[in-house]
């Protein structure tokens, strides 16, 4: 067992442990802070795979922007435990159903395709530049230029929609309830 393998197994265990903490810690602020640890471990996995640019983007965009947005909203709302609904019943059957189904599908794929079990090729076989910013840009801005444009338009639309939503003021606390009465 060489060093890469040891690092890989440690990273995998850390990813699963922090993922479990994100999913099952009761308070949202704890989930958000464990999410940062999870993203840093993901970034380390990308470095191990050789995708350096993706690792940097993972830290910058996910841990730097999205989780900060989550933390900001959680602290802005300042919820008490009663509003969080911490004492709710857990439908364990649905979890078992979902994980069992995906597990069986995964097992079938695993048995059906032994190519999946071959070791990943060394980086030198892939011309040595895989995962760098230069090679990524050459593919992304030439071959996939339309997906780049669509991403830009999508971000513009998101900015416009968030502005509209921020300007829209719901009437009052009871507005929704009177609406329900009107419908029914």
């Amino acid at each position: 067992m060489n060093l890469q393998e040891v690092v890989f197994y440690i990273l995998g265990a850390l990813l699963l442990i922090t993922g479990g903490l994100v999913a099952f810690r009761p308070k949202p602020i704890e989930s958000a802070l464990w999410l940062i640890v999870n993203f840093i471990c993901t970034s380390a996995l990308y470095v191990l795979l050789g995708a350096h640019f993706v690792a940097v983007i993972q830290i910058l965009v996910y841990a730097g922007a999205i989780v900060v947005l989550f933390t900001f909203v959680i602290m802005l709302l300042n919820l008490n435990p009663q509003e969080l609904g911490l004492t709710a019943a857990v439908p364990w059957t649905s979890i078992v159903l979902i994980s069992g189904t995906i597990g069986v599908i995964f097992l079938c794929l695993h048995v059906a395709t032994p190519e999946l079990l071959k070791d990943l090729p060394a980086l030198a076989e892939n011309a040595g530049t895989w995962g760098t910013l230069e090679s990524f840009s050459k593919v992304f801005l030439v071959k996939y230029v339309w997906s780049f444009e669509i991403a830009g338009v999508l971000l513009l639309m998101a900015v416009l929609v968030v502005g509209l939503l921020a300007h829209h003021h719901p009437k009052a606390v009871t507005a929704g309830k009177s609406l329900e009465k009107d419908i029914s």
Binding site: A51, A158, E180
Partner: protein, 101 residues
């Protein structure tokens, strides 16, 4: 490299199932969004790993598109949650029944 794509896919599978089960059992909207991010992240790992297996950058292009969609979705969903909180003083999705028929 002494680990195969199946090892990485197993980690992706574990993370995705953790996110999905968290999404199902959580009651407040922000925690459900965080679990959604966990699922998207699991898919991203598998995209980059398959790109590594085939030795091209198409997986990176898809990764870029996925994080764009994730950022847009997070911003819009958090704005909707803030409006919901102003309307109902609560972010539990059991209370958000305006669209119930």
């Amino acid at each position: 490299m002494s680990f195969s794509i199946a090892h990485i896919l197993f980690i992706c599978f574990g993370l995705f199932v953790l996110g999905a089960s968290g999404f199902l059992i959580r009651k407040n909207a922000i925690s459900m969004l965080i679990c959604l991010e966990l699922m998207l992240n699991a898919v991203n790992i598998s995209l980059v790993a398959f790109g590594r297996m085939h030795g091209n950058e198409s997986g990176h292009a898809l990764y870029f598109l996925v994080i764009t969609v994730a950022a847009c979705e997070t911003a819009i969903a958090l704005a909707i949650i803030l409006n919901l909180f102003r309307l109902r003083r609560s972010i539990r999705l059991d209370d958000a029944t305006v669209l119930k028929g």
